[in-house]
Point group: C2
Chain length 493, copies 2
């Protein structure tokens, strides 16, 4: 029987190890060459929506193709249609870099391909996640009682934090009975500033609180939450029978990197018994620098905080860390163990699936471990300090210029500014001018900047965060901006 | 000024390209050697919770460490504490394999490190996601109007589907006003079988429907949803003023891989105007085989379906695809565009952030493209057919054995069975016996099987899905099971 059934076995089709050696080396060489000169590509590709799709076959291949052909198509089709986040002239959104050490970690993660849902299904991934997150906690100066878990993105980390906030009051029985059709459950509210990230709204929609479940508190002249207005909003809601649930404070808003007064907000949350979640997805990383430690002041009193190592700590996407002082509440919100996932290992084992929506969990801690060890504390500090220095150099140029103006403080590595030619004071005209300016700048292919609205004004953002960005690139961005400003405003200097 | 500030720049600390070449090749060699003989490791490591943690430093390194040291620690600490999902004797949960082509794709994804939130931020990632998901749709025989998006896990895909179901009735204004504190919104219900995945419950908890928002419908003798019972449950709820929202049907349940009668369920959903979501996370892949196309029969009438290429299509974790015939409803549930993410490219561009909770999105389509091209349709078919053949061989052994019995049909590559020595008929005793048997089998280090409950009975699952599993490994599992059965039941054969 044996040999008969063996003979019936069809040919396995995975690559054999020697093929993997060969193509693996080709991929390594490709990555090395790419990372050596990402600026040989235009940072924004000169392509239109649908072009790549049209260049690809409409149907899947019937038979397997050689890896040479696949890699050739990667070169021929993918790279030219890519926005190059690795380009040193990438200054848009929050500029990021997946460092080389992180790329190596990611390759090993894909090879091990473990699912870290349970300790038993992935002991190393489960424990390394706890160890690396404890290391990162120490680097950021967060309190020892904060437990971390890795999610894909800050959007999910914030969703989890607010789900825990909703679960904080067992008497509401939200986990069991939900929110719908219940006369005994009041409308609920989450507070954040006007400048807070849209992920707060998305989380509220998802959790059944609705967009109306988010109340946006005004900010001061420096885009920081007005704590007096927060307290008044909470009192007003309580008087109306709305139940305040949580406050989301931000350390480094996406628009202008403003820092909410977390300490004062924490005092309000303590008085009002509200969950305090801090969105430090970008700004939190700055706390690895002793001189920027102030950025996380007060966060030790928060119930949860999100920091994204994939944003400004050189870990490849995706790696977002949610720390919480109340892991038992997070677990209460999400723990559900069907029989096929019970294990003979008892309570002493941590099963990370209990702390979030996702059952499947990639071994994301491995790349974080590689990056933290490759750089060390001092390496990360040097890199961040350099990014901040570069942004401050640029800020100086803006401040000294007669026809540019800064629209927000620049506490980290992002500068928010606009072109403002002397004599032009119509805001709509300035908005149009700056939108045209930005389009022209981005068409250069040398730099990519993005925009925002700062107190209603169209504003350009220069975000430094790419590991390959040098002063020459920042200077070049400034030259291009000035040249384009001359052209769009057609005004002699 | 220039040279002065340049001089002040601190040393950048990323790996230089030649170092990356060197270490990259070392990593490739490491992966090749590992994938050449994953069975040189025990599939379940003989370690206890906390051992790895204790072996790692309590504090992060102050200065950067050489990559040699990091890779040595990977060998010394990570591999011995890993449950080896690559081991050909891995038969637990849903056994999976990240194929070598997928590993190469993942490495390139980490190197490009683009965020596919917007078309503009990642044109290639956005369009390749649409192209590869359309290819996969064709391979599975799903209708052309189904649009796919990639999430990390099926848990998130199902959460998104049910969020869309909740959004289907604009008159409820759930997105705007939420569910809490509203007299005009009724309790809502999602239906699934007793055998459906716990992710349905987690999604209901997250969405504010609560565990009570899920009604589990009884199953027939083959673990398939009883459609008559479904219809009665819906009618009963409506009579009580509960609003039925959606039905989740399963193609390949986690416990026994049963297949709900999707066509009949679709008819109920059409009559009742309910969203039909199909969880085909594992079983959907089988439809690449013409002879298994029946598994997705009726799914063309579903509103959404989840299929996980990281489960049984050889794509490394994580890659879960949500297809929907109603992308506009999914978009309505999740689209929120803050100013800093508006782009000058107009409506013709697809911004994938609009279709889910997560703003950040890894370029997951690249590995899917590599895998679909490397294997081609026939390669995937051959691999899946072989897995199914191996499971059927094992099923035959169980069926022929006097002291083992099968507890469920085995339509795909999972066999659910138990040891049942003649004369032992006490169910509690059989449960104890099989739990002891499984522990003994898993202690072998040669194979890893998991368990479930089948109609209350403790059952052992043998899941074939690893790309390196051969008939010899399945036969060895059977030998170990028989040997261990002899020992635990202490009964002469």
């Amino acid at each position: 029987m044996t040999s008969e059934t063996e003979a019936a076995r069809r040919e396995p089709t995975d690559m054999d190890p020697d093929e993997f050696r060969r193509y693996g080396k080709e991929v390594v060489e490709r990555i090395a060459a790419y990372l050596e000169r990402p600026e040989s590509w235009p940072v924004l590709p000169p392509v239109r929506p649908g072009e790549l799709r049209a260049a690809l076959p409409a149907h899947p291949p019937q038979t397997g193709e050689p890896m040479e052909a696949i890699l050739e198509d990667f070169d021929r089709l993918i790279l030219p249609h890519t926005t190059h986040w690795n380009h040193p002239g990438f200054f848009a959104y929050f500029a990021i870099s997946g460092s080389a050490a992180g790329v190596l970690g990611e390759a090993l993660t894909a090879a091990l391909n473990v699912n870290a849902m349970l300790w038993r299904s992935a002991p190393a991934a489960t424990e390394l996640e706890q160890v690396t997150l404890d290391w990162l906690r120490q680097l950021l100066g967060l309190p020892a009682e904060m437990m971390g878990t890795i999610n894909d993105t800050a959007s999910l980390s914030t969703l989890h934090a607010l789900a825990a906030a909703r679960e904080m009051w067992p008497e509401l029985r939200v986990r069991q009975e939900g929110l719908a059709g219940r006369a005994d459950v009041p409308a609920m509210r989450v507070y954040c500033s006007e400048e807070a990230h849209s992920s707060v709204d998305k989380a509220a929609v998802t959790l059944g609180l609705g967009l109306a479940g988010v109340r946006r508190v005004p900010t001061d002249a420096e885009y920081r939450m007005d704590v007096g207005a927060l307290a008044r909003a909470i009192a007003e809601d309580r008087a109306r029978g709305v139940r305040p649930l949580a406050v989301v404070a931000t350390v480094g808003t996406t628009s202008t990197t403003s820092v909410d007064p977390v300490r004062e907000i924490a005092a309000v949350c303590e008085r009002e018994a509200l969950w305090l979640h801090v969105d430090a997805a970008y700004g939190g990383a700055a706390a690895v620098l002793p001189e920027l430690r102030w950025a996380l002041e007060g966060v030790e009193r928060a119930d949860s905080v999100v920091v994204n190592p994939h944003k400004w700590l050189f870990v490849p996407l995706d790696c977002s860390v949610l720390y919480t002082r109340r892991p038992e509440v997070l677990r209460r919100a999400f723990s559900l163990t069907p029989e096929y996932l019970t294990t003979p290992v008892g309570d002493e084992a941590l099963n990370l699936m209990d702390y979030g929506v996702a059952l499947g969990r990639r071994f994301r801690a491995l790349k974080l471990w590689f990056v933290l060890r490759w750089f060390g504390a001092t390496g990360l500090q040097a890199q961040l300090a350099e990014h901040i220095r570069l942004a401050q150099v640029f800020r100086g140029w803006v401040d000294m210029s007669a026809d540019f103006e800064r629209l927000a403080p620049a506490p980290f590595s992002v500068v928010v500014f606009r072109h403002h030619p002397p004599g032009v004071d119509d805001e709509a005209e300035l908005d149009r001018l700056n939108a045209a300016l930005l389009e022209r700048v981005n068409a250069s292919g040398e730099v990519f900047l993005s925009h925002t609205r700062a107190k209603g004004r169209y504003a350009i953002r220069l975000a430094v965060g790419n590991i390959r960005t040098r002063e020459t690139h920042v200077r070049r961005a400034w030259e291009i901006l000035r040249g384009a400003a001359d052209e769009v405003s057609r005004s002699p200097r």
